[in-house]
Point group: D3
Chain length 318, copies 6
Amino acid sequence: MVDVITLGETMLRLSPVTVSTLEEAQQFQVDVAGAESNVAGGLARMGLSVGWVSKLVDNSIGRLMAKRIQWHGVDISRIVWADRGRNGLYYLEPGVEPRPTRLIYDRADSAFTSLCFEEIDWEYFKDARLVHLSGITPALGKSADQLTHQIIDHFNNTGTLISFDVNYRSKLWSPSVAGKILTPIVKKVDVLICSLNDAATVFGFRSMDAEEVARGLQQAYHNQMVVLTMADKGAMAFDGQNIWYQDAYHAGSVDRIGRGDSFSAGFLYGYLNDDATAGLEYGNAMAALNQTLKGDFFWCGKEEGEQLIAGHSKKLDR
Amino acid sequence: MVDVITLGETMLRLSPVTVSTLEEAQQFQVDVAGAESNVAGGLARMGLSVGWVSKLVDNSIGRLMAKRIQWHGVDISRIVWADRGRNGLYYLEPGVEPRPTRLIYDRADSAFTSLCFEEIDWEYFKDARLVHLSGITPALGKSADQLTHQIIDHFNNTGTLISFDVNYRSKLWSPSVAGKILTPIVKKVDVLICSLNDAATVFGFRSMDAEEVARGLQQAYHNQMVVLTMADKGAMAFDGQNIWYQDAYHAGSVDRIGRGDSFSAGFLYGYLNDDATAGLEYGNAMAALNQTLKGDFFWCGKEEGEQLIAGHSKKLDR
Amino acid sequence: MVDVITLGETMLRLSPVTVSTLEEAQQFQVDVAGAESNVAGGLARMGLSVGWVSKLVDNSIGRLMAKRIQWHGVDISRIVWADRGRNGLYYLEPGVEPRPTRLIYDRADSAFTSLCFEEIDWEYFKDARLVHLSGITPALGKSADQLTHQIIDHFNNTGTLISFDVNYRSKLWSPSVAGKILTPIVKKVDVLICSLNDAATVFGFRSMDAEEVARGLQQAYHNQMVVLTMADKGAMAFDGQNIWYQDAYHAGSVDRIGRGDSFSAGFLYGYLNDDATAGLEYGNAMAALNQTLKGDFFWCGKEEGEQLIAGHSKKLDR
Amino acid sequence: MVDVITLGETMLRLSPVTVSTLEEAQQFQVDVAGAESNVAGGLARMGLSVGWVSKLVDNSIGRLMAKRIQWHGVDISRIVWADRGRNGLYYLEPGVEPRPTRLIYDRADSAFTSLCFEEIDWEYFKDARLVHLSGITPALGKSADQLTHQIIDHFNNTGTLISFDVNYRSKLWSPSVAGKILTPIVKKVDVLICSLNDAATVFGFRSMDAEEVARGLQQAYHNQMVVLTMADKGAMAFDGQNIWYQDAYHAGSVDRIGRGDSFSAGFLYGYLNDDATAGLEYGNAMAALNQTLKGDFFWCGKEEGEQLIAGHSKKLDR
Amino acid sequence: MVDVITLGETMLRLSPVTVSTLEEAQQFQVDVAGAESNVAGGLARMGLSVGWVSKLVDNSIGRLMAKRIQWHGVDISRIVWADRGRNGLYYLEPGVEPRPTRLIYDRADSAFTSLCFEEIDWEYFKDARLVHLSGITPALGKSADQLTHQIIDHFNNTGTLISFDVNYRSKLWSPSVAGKILTPIVKKVDVLICSLNDAATVFGFRSMDAEEVARGLQQAYHNQMVVLTMADKGAMAFDGQNIWYQDAYHAGSVDRIGRGDSFSAGFLYGYLNDDATAGLEYGNAMAALNQTLKGDFFWCGKEEGEQLIAGHSKKLDR
Amino acid sequence: MVDVITLGETMLRLSPVTVSTLEEAQQFQVDVAGAESNVAGGLARMGLSVGWVSKLVDNSIGRLMAKRIQWHGVDISRIVWADRGRNGLYYLEPGVEPRPTRLIYDRADSAFTSLCFEEIDWEYFKDARLVHLSGITPALGKSADQLTHQIIDHFNNTGTLISFDVNYRSKLWSPSVAGKILTPIVKKVDVLICSLNDAATVFGFRSMDAEEVARGLQQAYHNQMVVLTMADKGAMAFDGQNIWYQDAYHAGSVDRIGRGDSFSAGFLYGYLNDDATAGLEYGNAMAALNQTLKGDFFWCGKEEGEQLIAGHSKKLDR
């Protein structure tokens, strides 16, 4: 019933309403954020039919989270609902240079960490063209790591593409543990999305030359496509033979969190519908637009992305 | 160094900023609330020297919580700080009749549940005139129940008064378990504070006649003083011989949560400085003032309480 | 694909964020409101599958409106989207006695007024058990009146129930015009919902005795069921033979607008699933809960409604 | 050029934006308030041409104050502007029963206290039908007391009516000083407006019988008209021969401050255009509407006042 | 009675209160904006006596709009008030590069479009030194175009200067229609204000050399003065013989909308009182200050403009 | 009992909540600000034991001010409380280039100006390692100037270090008066902190060469250490022999007010614990962090300061 599945944990994101530290916060802005639901939202806004799978507690907070994801047009009908337990959350203190943006996770023992392969309605998803996962899930514990392998194995050799964004989080695990756990996973995925930083930190591919890193990853893990992101600089794709590169768009910065997920959504949209060139174009456009608004989600539409790619954006449209 | 110690868990209290359900909340008001820290704040505002003991994680959220309690003049120097773990929280959806006020607790595995008797600086507190505890602590698990007993045993027969507010919470445990766990505790405390509802639900003293309930409790547990609260109606005290009663003040209702803790603070203030009559007067006055403002805390001052007792309040003072 | 269809215009509802007149407003709260989409939202929250049909301009404001309705679980896939034109709106100044609540409509020439019978995907709706319409639609002009007749005629004798809420609006038309236009409509509907006021103003059934009015309407228009609402007092149903009555619940008042639509949703839910008794129970419960929150919509859930009916509501649930 | 002149001090009114004490306020609502400018605003909204005279410092705060008064249609062209000094202000903590509403004045040495008779453009005001003053001005010091006498003497026997609202403020002076200073003033005014409380506190007319008090005042000070206000109960007028009385309207209470000034504006409007009966009607209507909105000013219009008097108000006008 | 008249439509301007798209807006900031009323406000703040003429519906929204313009000191006594109809509005979504700032107009059939020459009190305005109009008015329909011609013809050869700002709006009409309609108008005005963009788009004067464009316009339309604006770069004036040029001030950007109108106000102020040099200085200063605050209006004062021109601005004045 | 004393006036700081001029402000953000209490807060956040001495009126506003300072961990137990009088305040209009940031002081006759040497509990402070004062105090009048001398004389030759920040305020006095009053003071202090601007304006040390200025000051006033601040450029220290210099950190600017006080706190912290090098490092780090948040205070912690100095700051820590 859906073109794309994404699966992962989503948390309540609580950040001061005004410019303030968490310690002095009087009110929290209530957002909802998770790498894979961010990607789901971005793809749904581009017009694809996308289902997000996760496990939430069936209370007001869980429903708030699900509905905030549905807002973008994502199919939330296959969320697994738990009777008891807790929904994860994190506190966000946005920084201004040189004060860093800081996160305090409070996600231990969330309902998601108890999600089992068998609880999911795989029949509903059997015609999906793409399954998107990220390295955050295996970081959440043994059971979530096992789930990741089960899903990949389930879809392998079925014609469904498997994409995987490394998304290393230093507050969840160390680079060496991450490397050990993630290596067997990335070997099995079709599209590997990885930042230049994570390639070095987690997989040990350290080089000033991005192309060398992209080639290194592809040769090590034999992915159909390796996509390497370089923060504000741009992104690169390598399929073992051809290399593509595109500069990032210059963009004002309101809230950078979620930028990477919008890039992934854009890349996957362009790649699914067309090719790696389109993927990089949409990825860069959606990443740029993402950081001009608050919250992790991609709040814009397909039209704005395509106007940016086509170079038709005006400063003021009246 | 302090006159009074209160010990218990304190949580972040997150409620919609506007009149809204939790499910539709866009922003949360950030408050800090815990029965025993509420009592500490109320007593400090009356001019006593009060220390609050608890365990918090040493991060921005933990510091926010401690400072919000210090705001009232409470000594927070003996909080036990944890390096890791989580601070408890709850979501609050204020109701309007007939829609109930609802709480969603997210307090499992908080730092407080790992607090040990040995971690606390008892030397610092050796001259306290009063230790105040509540029935919420033993509801939080075996270790917290044990801690409650250790503290009571530590102060018993030292001249330090022990007060205990039953505070039954149906979302934490069943009436029968609560009754079993709390009975050995209430037998050891000097001042037992209990609502008419809890006397029936937890201890089985069911009667339309409040005096009969107060006598029943005192005869069963032999407390120096039993204080029975009757919501908006008023409160009663019984010491085995004499009975005191005072009507509640008529008061507008902005936020009723914390009203009971302000009553306890008022009763203990009046009782420590004077007698049960003063206790009921201050208890009712502080309860009434408490519900005219948002948040669990007692935000007013000694002067306002005493003007109310003296009948000198004006509607408009200009 | 859906159990229930509702069709009608929905507007942006702009009201001062703070207690203020419109003339002094600095910020407007942005809500979305329309009698028939309110009913759709209420029915979806009770667990029915509901589609809302209307016509909106395909711009940010139109999408905002559609998504706000989808938030409640309503199927918005059959909205007719216009390329150009305008979405209707109204300004709301909430009153406090004796200052009246006032509305300024700015809905002339909205996209909805150009909606044609042929633009709607009737195939998709062919299995609906109920179609709900209101007297606001024919008030919007000749073409909307014709549409109302076309829909009723389309479903008549198909087993699909047709319900109709009179909803007289004095700012849209005079009582005499309303009476002339609405009479041929109400003769064709199965469930007629009408307030005691509108029965007098529009149809001339003036009496202090509600039962007499209900009987008068039923005898005049031969509806399967006449439902008469009496503001805060309660509601009555009459099927030509039996008469049912239920008192309203006592309820605090935060925002009364939308109360009637929640009643209709509740009545239709109870009546569809059960009978007129259930209809009045759910109608009164949903009306009472509706006015405890801001906005036209019913923001609560099935569980809260049923707890209220069962008499299990607590003031504070913790 | 104007029908009415009012003269007096106006202050910045700073109150917590949320329900909070001043001590915990994070943000202040910025209002502008002064008894005589409140009356000016009310009269201008009723359609009279009104000039307000005062002295303000020519900085952003002074201009804010003047423009907020002009907003109501008041002529501010004859404000006297000071190059240096300060504009007065007060902090307001709105109460909820039994917590009193409290004011902290910070108005000492404001620019107004240096206003001289000679600084005012009396030529411009020479055709005024009414001059309105209040007992707050003489409370502000010797020079302001002298100014009050100068103005009254200037207009006496010119055909211009002089009205005076006693407005006793216990935070400015004691009852005995007020009585001594105000007695020679009230003897010279045409329309004396006084609350039942002030009649007792300041002038010693203590009685449960309002009529007796009104007669007492009139016989003592020989005013053309004595108007006695009785808070929520209503108001009475006595001209030495005839007595008029009207009950107050039942009204919800959002912010009672300014209610008395709206009564005065209403009375003066009705009295100037018609007679004491009309005065009491407009006074009560404007007082009732005033307290349904925040701020001291009368924010409604003539139409709303007259609908209330005519008994045509609806709860909901749509 | 006034020095300057400006005439044109003004709309409610509704934009998200927080950084958000319109589609996700929860609250709208309520501003009032129209090119000609912006110019009126700017000129009034510089100390000129300015009247703004327009047609508004006499309801709360219309009065809000008029009072917001009066706030700046503009004479609103000659607004034409309509009994029925609608006031225009637009929704504004402020952009952050590369996301464009977008407007959605909802101004069709506003009261302004029915304004007739005969409805205006020309007697009151007979001594005006300047009439300012803009190209937005003729874009609003045949009748508004005719009104533009009638006004220009009325003042031609009376000694009253006529200034005209082209203000091309692509959402109102196409360049070719605009060119056809505007050409006969610009031939009759004294001061023609036009952006480099509009000169190319509407009148076909395309050149990289601004001077060439200015000369081209002047030779084509024979205006007393052609003023060419070049966005952030600066502005140029040409009177057929002499050419003046001044760089724009470097300025932070909070809200650029209204910048052009503040430039026009500044130019006209300097030009009326002095000459083209002063005009460019005031124009650039007011444009720079305008974009440091939200809303279309010029919120600063004459003093701030002149300090900027004189180079006396400090970063921090304490 | 404390390591450091700071003494000076603190005011309420009222600034528009949104981007707006003061003239149009609807709500004021309530902050508390004073150069010496800012320094106290910064030092307390670095872990020192700091007492702040001042005089406040004992009302809600005075208590608000004291508690806001205590929030940072400052000992407020030795504030002198006045029964009557007023607390000073200032209005702040934050600028955006080229619109200046402007302050309107309303601090005349504040309680602080009546503070006497004898009212202060010097016994409590006898073991302080450092007393910090500023040039604002002597600017407030003869009595405050005398107090400054009394304090310096009291601590001279006791081993307590005396630091003094010149802090020239042009709205309080002229450069020549400031120079005359401050010269005898700066001659007696150990650590003189002065901006390059103030060195020129107040003391006449005008040079493009900062080192020359530092040497000039030291030779004139013979301070143990002269610290010269150069706004965004960095800071220099000179002890008569050695010269130290450190560049400022690049930092985003949210609110620059208080930046200088955070520098002073940092310098004094580093210098007290270590040496001038550490002083400049901490000073620059705290100044940079200060301007990334709103309000005068230093809201960050020791850890953030030291991570910045160590170069370990990340943009995003997750």
